[in-house]
Amino acid sequence: MLEVRNLSMRFGGLLAVDQVSLDVQEHEIVSIIGPNGAGKTTVFNCMSGFYRPTGGEILFNDQPIHGKPDYKISRLGLVRTFQHVRLFNKMTVVENLLVAQHRHLNTNLIAGLLGSPNYRKREQKALDRATYWLDRVGLLELANREAGNLAYGQQRRLEIARCMVTEPRLLMLDEPAAGLNPAETRDLNQLIISLKEDYNVSVVLIEHDMSLVMEISDRINVINQGRPLASGTPEEVRQNDDVIKAYLGET
């Protein structure tokens, strides 16, 4: 479904990502792990079109997407969250979800001004979808609050819901568990598995929380200093000597 081949990203003299390859199949959770500064987020930024990679290629459903503008990539169904939550803070929770469905709405100005049947129908559909996802992540009560006033864990969930209402094929989560307490992490765990099981979305995950990664990943890619270090099932990665040395620490 997604194939990254020999991806390289150079910022001036710094080679942040060097020859990284990974692939994601339908119905799969793939994790990218590595020490801080290893280049994980840079890989994400290349995949979502924020950076134009300096080398290699990225294929989504056998279609090259490297170098495409970010908004076009997300319209293909490749949507991401951010390491630091990026919500539309002054807008309400529902509005955040409605903005995300821009692509599914009738954006014709005249139709909107006159309230044409098609416009109303699609607006209602978007509202229903927003309601469904708010209910799913447990934020329905807070629908008309300003997103910036939510608690941190709620903001994290809202960000995932905001991605899901766009009906993505592939979801990229950048450290979704950062700053969550153990109970919240457990909920998140289940949510991500359910995204895969119930909504048929593939997930690429960057995460530092090892228990989360090991538990839910189908496969793991390890990056160190921009270079791929190892890849395989959680079991294989756990046993890999290089990984233990580089990441889990030497004892």
């Binding site: 924020f50 997300s74 949507v79 919500l87 807008m91 409605l98 909107g112 001004l113 309601t131």
Partner: protein, 423 residues
């Protein structure tokens, strides 16, 4: 602490003396061919000294004074009231708005000609401010050259009527559309810019338009401006004493009433009112539509907006275009009201005033912006006796406003969306 306060207050008082005395206390008098330096009269010197003492006292007790100022908003009896329930508030707002518009419709028939004229000006500023509110308040794009679109609207009407004899009603959509086109054209080069950089470019754009109008004398008459812009007609009825154009009839003859110059003023007021209401309603509707939401999303977080598939290009361009469209409206009405326009009406200060209206009213808030437009246009007129100090009062009022209510008169309130839980 007290010693420090005293030192600071003394310093401020001395600075006041140093600045005020040479400017106000010394006069240059021409005596034959020579210029002689003379001290001002005692009254001036005493008032300068008094001013220095006031500054000294204020700085000395500054903390106490500011603290007591901070208590003032709490005197507001409505401050702690629970917000009204959603449905009731909406009904209440609708009724209030309808009553307000009806009052505004009937009002000009009972007041003087001067007030109606002023009210027309207020309505023009309301249109401008609502339009700029889209660009600055909703989309978060700081536009310092907004007056350019106003000028485009006004000059479109003036030029078309001068060269092709086009009427007000035809010029209205044309002026608005041409202004919108200019908005689109300005939008392209500034797509990548935000904040300060955008402000500078738009400032430059505003100046370009004004200077072009000033220098293209063969077309626009340059600084001499364009006169003789026709008044609007009502279904071919003119409001002048005599008919200017072939085929038109005159309003007072058709209705068999005595000619009065007030008819025209009131008619213009009503047109401005209808257009202002139209502007408010359309923009209000936009804010609930996908376009309006995408403007706000872009303001809140551009990167997140793009990651969700919003194209920065189309969102920014739509904000610029729609904002400019309504400025074009206002410009056409302005040209018709004045009957004469010159580049002098479209200087940077105008942009600054419109921006001040938006900021004072509360970014994104329509009612706030309308109230601020009324205040900003009418207050200087009321303070005519102090005409020398108009700008001073204006500035002071703004500083005080920003200290007390940095979020504006009536900050924007979110739209409440009722959700039905599904099974």
């Amino acid at each position: 602490m007290a010693a420090q306060n005293l030192k600071h207050a003394l310093f401020c008082a001395i600075i006041t003396l140093i600045i005020a005395y040479p400017i106000l206390g010394l006069n240059l008098e021409a005596e034959g061919t020579q210029v002689v330096l003379e001290g001002a009269d005692t009254v001036t010197v005493v008032s300068i000294a008094l001013a220095a003492i006031v500054v000294f006292l204020f700085q000395l007790f500054r903390d106490t004074i500011m603290a007591s100022l901070g208590r003032i908003p709490r005197l507001n009896p409505l401050a702690n009231r629970e917000p009204m329930e959603q449905g009731r508030r909406q009904r209440f707002e609708t009724i209030a708005l309808v009553l307000l518009v009806m009052a505004a419709l009937a009002w000009p028939f009972f007041v003087s000609r001067g007030s109606v004229d002023l009210a027309t000006l207020v309505l023009i500023y309301v249109m401008l401010a609502l339009g700029l509110n889209v660009v600055v308040g909703l989309a978060g794009l700081l536009d310092l050259g907004y007056v350019a679109f106003y000028a485009v609207g006004a000059y479109t009407f003036a030029l078309l009527s001068q060269y092709f004899g086009i009427s007000f009603w035809l010029a209205l959509p044309l002026g608005a559309c041409l202004a919108a086109l200019f908005g689109l054209v300005l939008g392209f080069p500034v797509l990548r810019l935000r904040g300060d950089y955008l402000a500078i470019v738009t400032l430059g754009f505003g100046e370009i338009i004004r200077i072009l109008l000033n220098n293209m004398t063969w077309l626009t008459g340059g600084p001499n401006g364009i006169g003789g812009i026709p008044d609007p007609t009502l279904f071919g009825m003119e409001f002048g004493r005599r008919i200017k154009e072939e085929g038109n009839s005159s309003f007072h003859e058709v209705f068999g009433i005595a000619y009065s110059s007030e008819h025209k003023i009131i008619f213009l007021y009503l047109i401005a009112l209808v257009l202002a209401v139209f502007t408010a309603v359309v923009i209000r509707r936009f804010t609930k539509m996908p376009v309006g939401r995408s403007w706000e999303a872009l303001r809140e977080d551009e990167i997140a907006a793009r990651s969700l598939g919003l194209s920065r290009t189309s969102v920014k361009l739509s904000a610029f275009t729609i904002g400019a469209f309504f400025a074009g409206f206002a410009g056409t009405v302005f040209a018709s009201k004045q009957g004469f326009i010159s580049p002098e009406s479209f200087v940077f200060l105008e942009s600054a005033i419109i921006l001040a209206i938006v900021v004072l009213g509360g970014m994104g808030s329509q009612i706030g912006v309308i109230l601020a437009a009324i205040a900003v246009v009418i207050l200087p007129e009321l303070a005519r006796e102090f005409s020398e100090f108009r700008m001073l009062i204006f500035g002071a009022a703004m500083v005080l406003m920003m200290v007390w209510r940095p979020q504006g008169l009536l900050p924007m309130r979110r739209i409440h969306i009722e959700l039905k839980k599904q099974e």
